[in-house]
Symmetry: C2
Subunit: 413 residues, 2 copies
């Protein structure tokens, strides 16, 4: 096997991260590559060229996912897929998505140069879209490959400038049947290398995160309705104060979250009051709740318990409660067999790793129910992501790629 | 003395309330009379005319306060002043302020008709401004009479259309020295009849509120600063969540308010979060606190205790606290001697009354430290005020005026 640290690999990673970040570079030293934009297309074309140079056969599917295939020797071989997404949030970082694509290219190049053709096919994928930063649509790339999304889901969508999704897709050269249909039936597994976008690995001084689950997410809008009244002339006992009720709801919500499980995370990120005047008792409070955990049963039980308690609290305050659930994504289990392969490699190489869940969403959650899927993390400095300040040390990027090389070798050779 | 119920009085009250409400009547059946506006001027001129008709000598001071004088027989007699303000909030009700002016006119007319000239002077005042609804300036009328306000306080002020205060005053015919200087040195006492703007009298089935204190008010803006982070990838234990801290602060604030005194009222009417996104832990929460009580020592002690506890809470959450106090109005005591006169009249007449504090601000709080002052309330239906739905039954208005007649009789005859 390859050496633990490789000066050549280190240099290649630094170079390729800068190279890909140059497509859609912003004035803030960030990156903006929105689906089907000019910068997005230039990036895909540059990756296509790179794939050719390292001996892969590049091809697109009809939604713009780009694949680089290293054909296996086995007849009717199934395919090991690795990669991530090429699109970014607006003024995002260099690593989110891009790292997984570059890692795939470098790993497969290395394997091909050192070991020639594999037994199974290996493909590196540059998924067209994951972030939803141009159109209100996420996981468009992986959703098409796995068959859970189709043109019907986007016919009505427009971007912020009013350009229809279909028109943007056509302008980029996709959606017209010039490429193969995106749905795949030959995938053996999907392996995604990604930055953590959290601080866990850095704080715990681990080099790799092996993801067991991508958490389920529930999002709610909660409305508490009371009664507006004069702040000076209404005794406390007679009030139906939407803000006071809400403070108690949030307090109980957070308290229960901490008691339930260290893996449960709950966030109240938005709040508004009506009429929102300092000397008027608020008649209405609206706030958001974001709840995430890796076990559906924990999510269900938590929500059930909390909302029961919510009702008791508003009854006590003589206010009304309305709960609107607008997102309900189930947790997705990653493939334990694949995770075991990574684990045994990391143990052998004595690289510190952590079994963990992913609190953020990734293409892997779309692949998870479709084929064996493994999501592997490298540390994010200070947990910063979706920002030009997103950063991972090249040493850490390299450890991820070294692992990917070994995992692909075990699976495909 | 006059009869308990008078059909003639009842009719006169109904008629005069409608008459005054016709100046600045809105499409919503509300009233808008902003300081120095056309409608405001028409109202003052109509009251001036009415004063003349009932035998009073009308005169303005140089800021536009209108007085109707019934001269006393005593040489160098001091003056008993009664009335309230003529200006309104935007689309306000018919009663706030206006009732006190009309009550004065009706009471003095009655007294003059029945008992002729008093011993002391009685004046009815239609104060030019109390609400601060045109310019950011409240109690302009009473503030000038008592000498705590002057032109220097308004030189820099403009209304929402950019019209300077001084220009508006000049256009209405005031501020040019054509009338007497507003500061008075001959006032014996001030008696203000006003609607309660709360529900206490109605709920407790009392006809009259005798105000012992106008509460002190403190207003604060509280800023809690934490750290923005990803709602999915940041474990609860590592968060510096400005919203969670704030929920605990508000909860403790309200709990302590209820424990401290039934007369203490505390309101959180405004709140905002940054960045206010459902899947981002808020880095900053800003909220208002409005605290009112009739005893300065209770206010001080409460604020001291609560803010000490606030500090402990933010320390626990690893967030930062900033407390900005932008209003600090001391409680004002009304004249107990005057209150005793009202009380003995009401006992004698067997009219149910309540000794109470005023949670809202009134011109009486400006007169309070300057001369003997009495503030008397009549019930407000459902406590609604500053709205076209503001309503007090004529029966209740009449009881207030009957009381005013008797109080003025005792003081001036």
């Amino acid at each position: 096997m390859i050496e633990k640290k490789s000066p050549a690999l280190f240099e290649q990673i630094e170079e390729m991260m800068e190279w890909l970040a140059s497509f859609g570079k912003t004035n803030n030293n960030g990156v903006t590559r929105k689906l089907y934009s000019k910068d997005w297309l230039s990036a895909q074309e540059a990756i296509e060229k790179q794939m050719k140079e390292i001996g892969l056969h590049p091809f697109y599917d009809d939604v713009g996912n780009l694949f680089g295939r290293l054909a296996g020797q086995q007849e009717n071989a199934s395919t090991i897929l690795t990669g991530s997404h090429i699109d970014t949030v607006i003024d995002g970082g260099k690593y989110d998505g891009a790292y997984g694509v570059i890692a795939g290219l470098i790993a497969v190049q290395y394997l091909y140069e050192h070991y020639g053709s594999p037994i199974k096919n290996i493909e590196v994928v540059s998924l067209c879209e994951e972030e939803g930063s141009r159109f209100p649509m996420t996981y468009w790339g992986s959703g098409n490959i796995t068959g859970i999304k189709s043109f019907e889901d986007v016919h009505h969508l427009k971007d912020s400038k009013g350009i229809p999704f279909i028109e943007a897709m056509h302008q980029a050269g996709f959606g017209k049947g010039n490429h193969q249909p995106p749905k795949r039936n030959d995938l053996d597994c999907f392996i995604e290398l990604h930055i953590e976008q959290g601080e866990v690995l850095e704080r715990e001084e681990k080099s790799i995160g092996i993801v067991s689950h991508i958490v389920g997410q529930r999002r709610y809008n909660i409305t508490v309705t009371g009664e507006s009244n004069h702040a000076g002339t209404t005794p406390m006992a007679w009030r139906k104060d939407a803000m006071y009720s809400t403070a108690e709801l949030i307090q109980v919500l957070m308290q229960k979250a901490k008691e339930t499980s260290t893996d449960l995370v709950v966030t109240v990120g938005q709040i508004s009051l009506e009429p929102n005047v300092s000397n008027v008792i608020p008649r209405k409070a609206t706030f958001s709740i974001d709840i995430r955990h890796s076990q559906e049963i924990v999510l269900s039980k938590f929500c059930e318990d909390v909302f029961k308690e919510f009702q008791l609290i508003v009854n006590r305050h003589q206010t009304q409660l309305h709960i609107h659930n607008w997102m309900n994504e189930k947790p997705v289990k990653m493939c334990e067999k694949l995770n075991k392969i990574s684990e045994s490699i990391l143990r052998r190489e004595q690289i510190p790793f952590k079994r963990m869940t992913s609190g953020a969403g990734h293409d892997s959650q779309v692949f998870g129910p479709f084929c064996s899927t493994s999501l592997l993390f490298v540390p994010s400095q200070n947990g910063i992501s979706h920002s030009p300040y997103e950063f991972t040390r090249t040493e850490d990027l390299e450890k991820g790629i070294q692992l990917l090389i070994k995992v692909l070798y075990e699976l495909a050779y």
